[in-house]
Amino acid sequence: MHSAAREFVREMLEMTAGPLVWLLYLLVMYGAAAVHCARPAADAADRTPLLIAGGALGAVAIGLLAWSVLRARRELASESTSDARRFVDRVAFALGVFGIGAIVWTALPVLLSPACGVVTDAAQRSW
């Protein structure tokens, strides 16, 4: 790829890593929950696989974003970059922090909500 184009795509991916990783985490967890809940009812009632998957994937996603946030902070500390690059790094930093918070927030239902089954009044009473 023409070097400037490649550089720009890389910058944009770094800048939006926070919400991008969050979105991927949400989609993967939604898919995992759907697959888990398609299993026979007895297996589906056990939330352990989802807790493990959610925790492990969450840790990887948060680790990635923590790396991205630290990278942006390191770039910001160096004074040689242009205004545009500093802007991109500042946005990357803030969106990275936002992404980490969003992942934790979105993962909470794995801990707090029953895994499968349509929610009914009877099911709500049994929680």
């Binding site: 910058e11 919400p19 545009a84 802007f87 803030a94 936002f98 029953p114």
Partner: protein
């Protein structure tokens, strides 16, 4: 302090006259062939307003029907058609086109460009929308309008329950209009990233351009899902492929997933540009820069991503597992954070400045009040238990009108009043504007606030009448009175337009009547600004009060026409460095003919006139090929001095070229189409394993078939890469291996498609039998459509090569074709792996 002139002033005599001559619109009937954004943008906005009026009339008819209990003003069937057409027109033919049109009109001036990078594409998108939209509306006069609601859920919209062709009008008409929206998005993405004024780096980009960038990315990512959805439902209605028929392994919920993966981002697609209007109007009216610019950019980006992750909140009542809906409930509530950031930034801007209460300010304040209320009820319906209580009631109708009218219509009217002086010799009237605002604001709240209560009292949406003893009558009467108030507001606005709006003048508009800070307020003619200014601030006209005069005097880049043709400067995407001058195409009948033919082809298909549809399809392709034939002019001119000793080329190929970026956006659109079908395959496998081969015993094609497909695809990829290298080495007038390599690549690509199709058919797989078979053929069909497009593009590239229009330097056509080709190879390989691997691995 001024920005120094790049060359001596005054400029030579005749320079500006030449510029004007090059950009002069054609007269008489050829005026229809104009392509530049100052004309197409206003046509577009006018057409969107027309659809707003038409859908508004339908709304008034519905409100008249509901004003009193057991009314018979409209029949049940007419009411069903009216609410379907009202929602569909407002969302697809007014809201999205209106904000896209404002972008087409405003962005070049705001970015300091002479036009958008693909003017003929804008013209094509507009005419396709204009003709297609009017034909769609006319279905109402022939009792052919759809009745399934704006989201057209199956099973209601399946052939069994919606016979006739009314639903097909929706499916083909709307699917086609989405293509027009995507064309606009390509323009906007490439325009914002590549045609900014020198020095306008990303940190100095007007906030509206950021909003439009996120808007266009959302269109690119979300609209393919609805195109796939409409295609699948049409395949089911026309040919009996059972994607949504539970008896044959389909699932109506698949439609809801595809629809809402588009439908929720659609809300932000409408809202984000409107938020961009607000972020531009407020600083001007307060006389201070926007507070927390960077945080607002962050909020726009976060909202854009969040928009893609909340579609299931429209499906809380469908029986999806508890955990799944909890994820989306959490995500939906998280959207409040970036939305809140924007609201607080606007409040802070208001607090910092001295607010001028003008008509645009009133509309912005009205927006803040209404949108915050709509946002709060949005958080309420984001809570699953509350959502269940109010699902399908008038509470939801109130909520989304607060979001959509508050979040989009109020800022849009504010934007009309604010930016009208850039287009019209006279600004719109402040006096009439205040009448419009107060009538609209009061009318809106009187119409829609009571609906919260009507909904809580249990009135379902979409009922054509109700019994007097339900107790809903007084509230409904109030809502109807409010709706008529809104109608009067719109009528006053039309009077204002008729009295004061005078566009299409050589001089541009009335000028900077608000003392604003951004570039669109520099005197703008058909050719845009006289010279393209250097930008070193977010509010350049405030930072340099003489910038407008210097720009007008020709002090900066491209003060005349450097190439003797229409042109603009292409700059680097991150920091806005000049890279090359792009020669832009001028007026032409070709995009006009292509657009009309496309629209008529789709409607011929709806009316089951297959032969005319094919003829019109062929005419479309011919007109498009004729239009692009002279687009790649090659480096006919040497590099030119664009000002201040900056000498840049007049041609660029490969990844530097803006055209390559346009095709890259198109590749993402195609990838999203494929992703939507890929998801459909996995979804149907999850919900209906009993129709998959392991359960039915249906044999899969023998492994030799996918191996042959993959080998042919790889061969095609290798051959196209070889063609690229051969083209780079080719000498003028000599034989090059690029031509045989291209033929070989094409043969292998078509062969791979044929092998896959024949392989599946050889097992006796029939698409009408099961959802498995249907989705297999749908995936192959998408690949087939891509192979067809590449066949046309490949033969076109070959024709250019044979006529001496392709070479080692003049190679944009080849590079663009190769980019899409590479994706076709990747898509083919992934599809082959899915179709042959998934049934073997998953089962």
């Amino acid at each position: 302090m001024s920005i120094p002139a790049l060359h001596p002033l005054p400029r030579p005599e005749g320079e500006v006259e030449q510029l004007r001559e090059v950009w002069r619109p054609p007269g008489g009937v050829r005026f229809l062939t104009v392509v530049n954004n100052t004309y197409i943008g206003i046509f577009y906005i006018g057409t969107a307003l027309l659809f707003f009026l038409l859908a508004g009339v339908l709304a008034l008819a519905m409100r008249t029907q509901l004003a009193i209990a057991e009314n018979d003003f409209l029949s049940q069937d007419a009411y069903n058609q009216f609410f379907t057409m009202h929602g569909t027109i407002m969302m697809f033919l007014f809201a999205v086109p209106a904000v896209e049109a404002m972008g087409v009109y405003l962005l070049p001036a705001m970015l300091g460009a002479r036009d958008l990078p693909f003017p003929r594409l804008s013209a094509y998108a507009f005419w396709a929308y204009f003709v297609g939209g009017l034909l769609f509306f006319c279905s109402l006069f022939f009792d052919l309008a759809p009745r399934g609601g704006w989201f057209m859920y199956p099973p209601l919209t399946m052939k069994e329950y919606s016979p006739g062709i009314a639903a097909d009008f929706w499916l083909l008409g709307i699917g086609f209009i989405e293509i027009s929206a995507i064309a606009g998005a390509v323009e906007i993405i490439v325009g914002v990233l590549r045609t900014r004024a020198p020095g306008m780096s990303l940190d100095k980009l007007p906030i509206y351009a950021w909003a439009m960038l996120v808007f266009a990315f959302l269109i690119m990512l979300a609209f393919p899902a609805i195109i796939v959805g409409t295609a699948l439902l049409e395949l089911q209605r026309a040919f009996g492929w059972p994607f949504f028929d539970a008896a044959r392994g389909g699932d109506p919920l698949l439609w809801q997933h595809l629809f809402w993966f588009f439908g929720h981002p659609e809300v932000y697609i409408i809202f984000l540009p409107a938020a961009g209007f607000v972020s531009m109007i407020l600083p001007t009216m307060c006389g201070v820069p926007l507070a927390a610019y960077r945080l607002v950019v962050i909020a726009l980006l976060a909202t854009g991503f969040a928009a893609l992750g909340v579609w299931v909140h429209h499906m809380f009542a469908t029986g999806i597992p508890a955990l799944s809906i909890s994820f989306f409930s959490a995500a939906s509530m998280a959207v409040a954070v970036p939305s809140g950031i924007q609201v607080f930034a606007w409040i802070a801007t208001l607090a910092r400045g001295r607010v001028r209460i003008t008509v645009p300010t009133l509309f912005v304040l009205g927006f803040l009040f209404i949108f915050v209320l709509g946002g709060l009820t949005g958080v309420m319906v984001g809570l699953v238990p509350f959502d269940w209580q109010v699902h399908d009631t008038f509470f939801v109708v109130a909520h989304f009108h607060y979001v959509l009218i508050g979040g989009m219509v109020f800022p849009l009217f504010g934007a009309f009043y604010y930016w009208a002086p850039t287009a019209s010799l006279r600004p719109l009237s402040e006096r009439l504007g205040r009448w419009v605002f107060w009538l609209l604001f009061l009318g809106f709240n009187v119409a829609f606030f009571p609906m919260h209560v009507t909904g809580l009292l249990g009135m379902p949406r979409r009922v054509w009448t109700y019994s007097a003893d339900m107790g809903w009558e007084p509230l409904n009467l109030l809502s109807t009175a409010g709706a008529y108030g809104m109608g009067v507001a719109v009528a006053v606005f039309l009077v204002d337009l008729a009295r004061n709006f005078r566009p299409f003048h050589d001089k541009g508009g009335a000028g900077d009547v608000w003392s604003a800070g951004t570039l669109e307020w520099i005197e703008n003619s058909t050719y845009g600004v006289r010279s393209i200014p250097v930008v070193d601030s977010r509010d350049p006209l405030w930072a340099h009060p003489d910038l407008a005069d210097c720009t007008e005097a020709g002090a900066y880049f491209l003060p005349g026409t450097a190439t003797g043709t229409r042109e603009t400067l292409v700059t680097s995407p991150l920091d806005g460095r000049p890279e090359y001058v792009v020669q832009l195409p001028g007026p032409s009948w070709k995009p006009f003919v292509a657009a009309i033919a496309t629209a008529l082809a789709f409607y011929s298909l709806t009316l089951e006139m297959v032969l005319p549809a094919f003829a019109l399809g062929a005419l479309t392709i011919a007109a498009i090929l004729a239009w692009v034939w002279d687009s790649d002019r090659g480096p006919a001119r040497p590099p030119v001095d664009v000002g201040g000793g900056h000498v840049v080329p007049t041609y660029a190929a490969g990844r530097l070229s803006h055209a390559w970026w346009g095709v890259a956006v198109l590749v993402v659109v195609v990838a999203m189409l494929f992703a939507a079908l890929f998801f459909s395959y996995l979804y149907l496998r999850l919900v209906s394993p009993d129709v998959w081969p392991a359960a039915t015993g249906h044999a899969l094609p023998a492994p030799a078939w996918p191996i042959a497909t993959a080998a042919l695809l790889l061969a095609s990829g290798a051959a196209i890469a070889w063609a690229g290298r051969a083209l780079a080495r080719r000498r003028p007038g000599r034989f090059g291996w690029d031509q045989p390599a291209l033929v070989l690549a094409l043969a292998a690509l078509v062969g791979a498609f044929a092998v896959e199709l024949v392989g599946q058919r050889s097992t006796g797989l029939v698409p009408q039998h099961t959802s498995y078979a249907a989705v297999v053929y749908a995936l192959i069909g998408l690949q087939g459509a891509l192979v067809f497009a590449l066949t046309v593009m490949g033969l076109y590239t070959l024709a250019r090569s044979l006529t001496g229009r392709l070479g080692p330097v003049r190679r944009v056509t080849f590079d663009n074709t190769r980019l899409l080709w590479s994706w076709a190879v990747v898509q083919g390989l992934v599809m082959t792996a899915l179709l042959h691997g998934a049934p073997r691995i998953l089962d």
